[in-house]
């Protein structure tokens, strides 16, 4: 079963050394990611799956997976790490199906099947005039909707995210969130939001989620 979930964004800024000298905003974000992953690991999973979207042609070298692996490494994770890469433009139904299959594999793994998910996803890159994609007034409401699902612990709600709008808003996390929705389904849980900010005009949500037992 899925024993815990952590969610982190995957900006290149989290790659080691890429900011030159340390940048305070990035350090705060990274610390939040490590805290969320700390909770994921504390739930005692036997296996870890990193779920991330991939741009066309990215596959296993997808930025989302690279950043996810790096964060796990930095958090001291010693478990074997599996990848689940989903094309970032996959239709919601495909994402949900992949998520359900992931949940089944977690069940099928039997006694050692305590699975932890690290879902790499971030929100709109169009949240301000200086944002990478310039300001789109629809960005904040879209991200607020995601945050409401996360905060309520009702991850199934992520299944309803509009893929067309998400693409227009440069949301890099939509497909991965919908895999998560498929994997967790209607299981209720409790979310801790470790970070929610947009220091560079891109929304970065960091959370951990534990199923209500």
């Amino acid at each position: 079963m899925i024993v815990a979930v952590a969610g982190c964004p995957h900006p290149p800024l989290l790659l080691r050394g890429i900011t030159g000298r340390a940048v305070a905003e990035v350090e705060r974000l990274q610390a939040a990611c490590l805290a969320a992953i700390g909770e994921l690991l504390a739930a005692g999973p036997d296996r870890l799956v990193v779920v991330g979207g991939a741009a066309p042609g990215e596959d296993d070298k997808a930025l989302s997976i690279v950043v996810g692996r790096l964060l796990l490494n930095q958090a001291g994770c010693r478990l074997p790490i599996e990848h689940l890469v989903i094309a970032a433009d996959s239709p919601p139904a495909d994402c949900l199906r992949v998520g359900r299959a992931l949940a089944s594999s977690a069940l099928a793994a039997g006694g050692d099947g305590a699975t932890g998910l690290l879902v790499m996803a971030d929100g709109s890159a169009r949240r301000s005039l200086k944002a990478p994609g310039y300001l789109d007034p629809r960005a904040a409401p879209f991200d607020d909707g995601v945050q409401a699902c996360l905060a309520a612990g009702r991850l199934a709600g992520l299944a309803d995210l509009d893929p067309v709008l998400a693409a227009e808003l440069l949301v890099a996390g939509r497909a991965a969130w919908q895999v998560l929705a498929g994997a967790v389904g209607e299981v209720a849980g409790r979310t801790t939001l470790h970070y929610s900010d947009d220091p560079f005009g891109v929304w970065y949500p960091v959370f951990s989620w534990l199923p209500a037992s």
Binding site: L13, G17, A131
Partner: protein, 286 residues
């Protein structure tokens, strides 16, 4: 490797030697820091602006009022002692050609003797050896101190620069100066017209290739002024352009009046070269 005041600097380090004149008549500052307290304020300012070294001078380079050895000592020695006391980690250089002055300032705490007149007094290198001080070996074309170049010609200015500075450096090593404490300086405008200074700037990499750390003293000099036909107070941009060109070719120490601006140029060169990361790279990476 370059060793100054007990610290080691690798070839990526770009150091600023800030000019601090205890003179009433130097060409750029025109006596602004002649007074003891003004000079001391200047030291604090240049340290805050990012200079690793101060170069204290008691005699202007150009011809002018006679400054004898006693007067040069009066201007420099107590001041060096005070700077040493106030800035224990600062690298202190003194710009002098006289060995008597060299001995007195080393005893007062100087770390570097900047022999800007090309070994005119051969005993200055002996003093550097005696005090285990560093030494700048400069090309001045064999002229007398405090003279202007007049109808000086070279078959090949850089060949002359190389042979004289390397000979001075090797001689200093023979006298006992540590090999890691010697810098060579092409001596822009010293015994050279503007064409000469421009050529040796253009070919500075040949000097770097000797392996001796290269110091350049470019700041607001006449070759910059003549290259751009600009008066003294408008030579900063030309100086900084020259600084970047020299740094790119491998010069390691930069004697300068305008420390904050020079620091920015050197940091930028280091960032381009890849020896120093950007301070904050986030654009396009969010």
């Amino acid at each position: 490797m370059l060793e100054l005041a007990g610290r080691s600097f690798d070839s990526d380090a770009l150091l600023i030697m800030a000019i601090v004149n205890r003179t009433p008549d130097s060409f750029y500052d025109r006596g602004a820091t002649y007074a003891f307290d003004k000079a001391l304020e200047r030291v604090a300012e240049v340290v805050a602006a990012g200079a690793e070294i101060v170069d204290i001078g008691g005699v202007k380079a150009a011809p002018g009022d006679e400054v004898d050895t006693a007067e040069e000592i009066r201007r420099t020695v107590d001041f060096v002692a005070r700077v040493r006391a106030e800035h224990p980690d600062l690298i202190i250089s003194v710009d002098t050609w006289r060995h008597e002055v060299g001995r007195a300032v080393c005893a007062a705490g100087a770390d570097v003797l900047n022999d800007a007149w090309g070994g005119y007094d051969p005993r200055l290198a002996e003093v550097a050896a005696e005090f285990d001080a560093a030494l700048v070996c400069t090309h001045a074309g064999g002229v007398q101190p405090r003279t202007r170049p007049h109808r000086i010609f070279y078959d090949d200015v850089l060949a002359d620069v190389l042979s004289r500075t390397v000979d001075l450096a090797e001689r200093a090593v023979e006298l006992g100066v540590s090999r890691h404490k010697i810098m060579i300086d092409p001596g822009h405008d010293f015994g050279k017209n503007t064409w000469h200074s421009l050529e040796l700037t253009r070919r500075l990499d040949e000097m770097v290739a000797t392996g001796w750390p290269v110091l350049v003293s470019l700041s607001n000099k006449d070759f910059v002024g003549e290259a751009l036909d600009l008066p003294l107070d408008q030579r900063l941009l030309g100086t900084l352009a020259t600084t970047a060109i020299c740094a790119w070719q491998g010069a390691r120490v930069f004697r300068a009046h305008n420390v904050a601006e020079t620091r920015q140029v050197l940091d930028m060169v280091a960032a381009i070269r890849g020896s120093r990361p950007p301070k904050r790279a986030v654009r396009g990476l969010a």
